[in-house]
């Protein structure tokens, strides 16, 4: 999003609002421990977790806002929230 005078923007630019910048803690996934149950994908309020091509569950960090729900709900405690250095 450009800093246009008067906060104006052409249509479609809301896409530029990347919730990833909100993050303080970042979820790190331990793919060895993961049982591929899909729970994290279900609970993520950003809908940003998907099965990658290698059949591993992983978030899109562009949109992951670091809420920690996935880590809280993962039955295998395969997700750890760590403070992110920016």
């Amino acid at each position: 999003m450009a800093l246009n005078v008067g906060c104006t923007a052409p249509p479609g630019r809301a896409r530029d609002n990347r919730t990833g910048s909100w993050r303080v803690f970042i979820p790190r996934f331990d793919h060895e421990a993961c049982s591929k149950c899909g729970m994290c994908q279900l609970v993520c309020p950003e809908g940003c977790i998907s099965e990658t091509e290698g059949k591993e569950f992983a978030p899109d960090y562009t949109y992951c806002k670091g809420c920690g729900l996935c880590a809280e709900e993962c039955p295998k405690t395969a997700i750890t929230m760590v403070q992110e250095e920016k």
């Binding site: 999003m1 906060c7 052409p10 909100w22």
Partner: protein
């Protein structure tokens, strides 16, 4: 120059007509009513080709203006007191969206207790909203500031809505001689509004976008920069006005009999007329007193005030508003708060007087009393408190 004796509100309506707004939207409220009644008549008589949008509240009035200016139209509104308070949210949005407007504020006290009388609490309460704020001493200046207001507000270096503030009743309902410029003269000074961007179906744009924490701070910075640029644009517009019509408004603060002054009064609006008369009398008695009148409160002319007050021994501020709770043990109004900030680091004492709230009359004798109190170091207090009713 042809002087006409006119009621302040009617003179404002006539000035607004000459500014050729394409949309007028306002909600009547005392003491602004005569302005918008008169404009309704002007539009109904076909003397101004404008859409006059009647609404059910001030919130809607200003919202209609936001929409109008967003389409690229020049718009106008007027309000006061509770009406301005109801516009609060729209005021901030309009400034953030950088939509220029001129809105007259017939300054009035804010409730509770309910008061229809004059002070400057209403516009002062919105000093952080991002609007320019110009304060008139008399009706001639109030009229002229509307032409200047549109010119500055619509300047692409500024693009900010502007409040032209004049004291309710004291000016709005008072008949004074006014030099009304002709339509040709106003047209020569005020070009048509050229929007920087506008609502256009062929070229769609969203306005007032959502800004995440990544952008909000920067938008606010840009908003403040526009205010800062307005300092020079107001001077320019005032100078140009003086060149064309002989009344120069290039100074953001007016110095009156400040040569060799030891005590300076700082004030805004119609109280300055009384103050000038008091100063003339005190000068005749040999007292070295002067007035520094703030015409432009937003943007705040900190450097101009510093220069104008560089050589005085003490300063008395007449605040027709109060920032409740400010100042620690003593009361403070906004003018004193901001003046003290501007003068920080200098040793000149600034004493504040909360005065004339809710229409309490101020006479020449009162100004003299303030000066005497200031000379005695007695200030930062209410002036004229009726302690017998407390």
């Amino acid at each position: 120059m042809a002087l006409e004796i006119m009621e302040g509100s009617i003179a404002i309506a006539q000035a607004v007509r000459r500014c050729r707004p394409q949309v007028v939207s306002a909600y009547p409220i005392t003491p602004q009513t005569h302005i918008v009644e008169s404009l309704a008549e002007i539009v109904a008589n076909g003397e101004l080709a404008a859409d006059y949008i009647t609404v059910e509240s001030e919130f809607s009035a200003l919202s209609a203006c936001v929409g109008a200016v967003a389409t690229g139209a020049r718009a106008y509104s007027a309000t006061t007191s509770q009406g301005l308070a109801l516009m609060f949210e729209v005021c901030f949005n309009m400034a953030g969206m950088r939509l220029p407007l001129v809105m007259t504020i017939a300054n009035r006290a804010l409730g509770a207790p309910l008061s229809i009388w004059n002070d400057q609490q209403d516009s002062i309460a919105l000093r952080d909203a991002g609007w320019l704020q110009l304060y008139a001493e008399d009706n001639q200046e109030a009229v002229d500031l509307h032409y200047i207001g549109y010119r500055v507000a619509e300047d692409h270096r500024v693009l900010l809505p502007t409040m032209v503030c004049f004291d309710g009743f004291i000016l709005s309902h008072t008949y004074e001689p006014v030099d009304m410029l002709s339509q040709e003269e106003v047209d020569a000074y005020l070009p048509p509004f050229v929007p920087k961007y506008r609502l256009d179906a062929a070229n769609p744009v969203s306005m007032g976008m959502y800004a995440t924490p990544d952008y909000y701070l920067e938008f606010r910075y840009e908003n403040d920069q526009a205010q800062k640029r307005a300092l020079e644009v107001v001077r320019e517009a005032g100078r140009e006005f003086g060149k064309l019509f002989g009344r120069d408004y290039s100074d953001l603060v007016e110095s009156y009999r400040m040569e060799d002054a030891e005590t300076a009064i700082v004030a805004m609006g119609s109280i300055c007329g009384t103050t000038k008369d008091a100063i003339d009398e005190m000068r005749a008695e040999g007292k070295k007193v002067g007035l520094v009148r703030i015409r432009c409160f937003r943007p705040f002319p900190a450097e101009d005030l510093k220069a104008a007050l560089a050589n005085v021994s003490r300063i008395a501020v007449l605040d027709k508003n109060i920032s409740l709770g400010a100042g620690g043990a003593t009361p403070r109004g906004a003018v004193a708060l901001e003046l003290k900030d501007a003068l920080y680091g200098t040793s000149t004492p600034v004493l504040d007087y909360i005065i004339a709230l809710g229409g309490r009359d101020v006479r020449i004798e009162d100004i003299k009393n303030v000066v005497a109190a200031c000379e005695a170091g007695d200030g930062d207090r209410f002036y004229g408190l009726r302690t017998e009713v407390l």
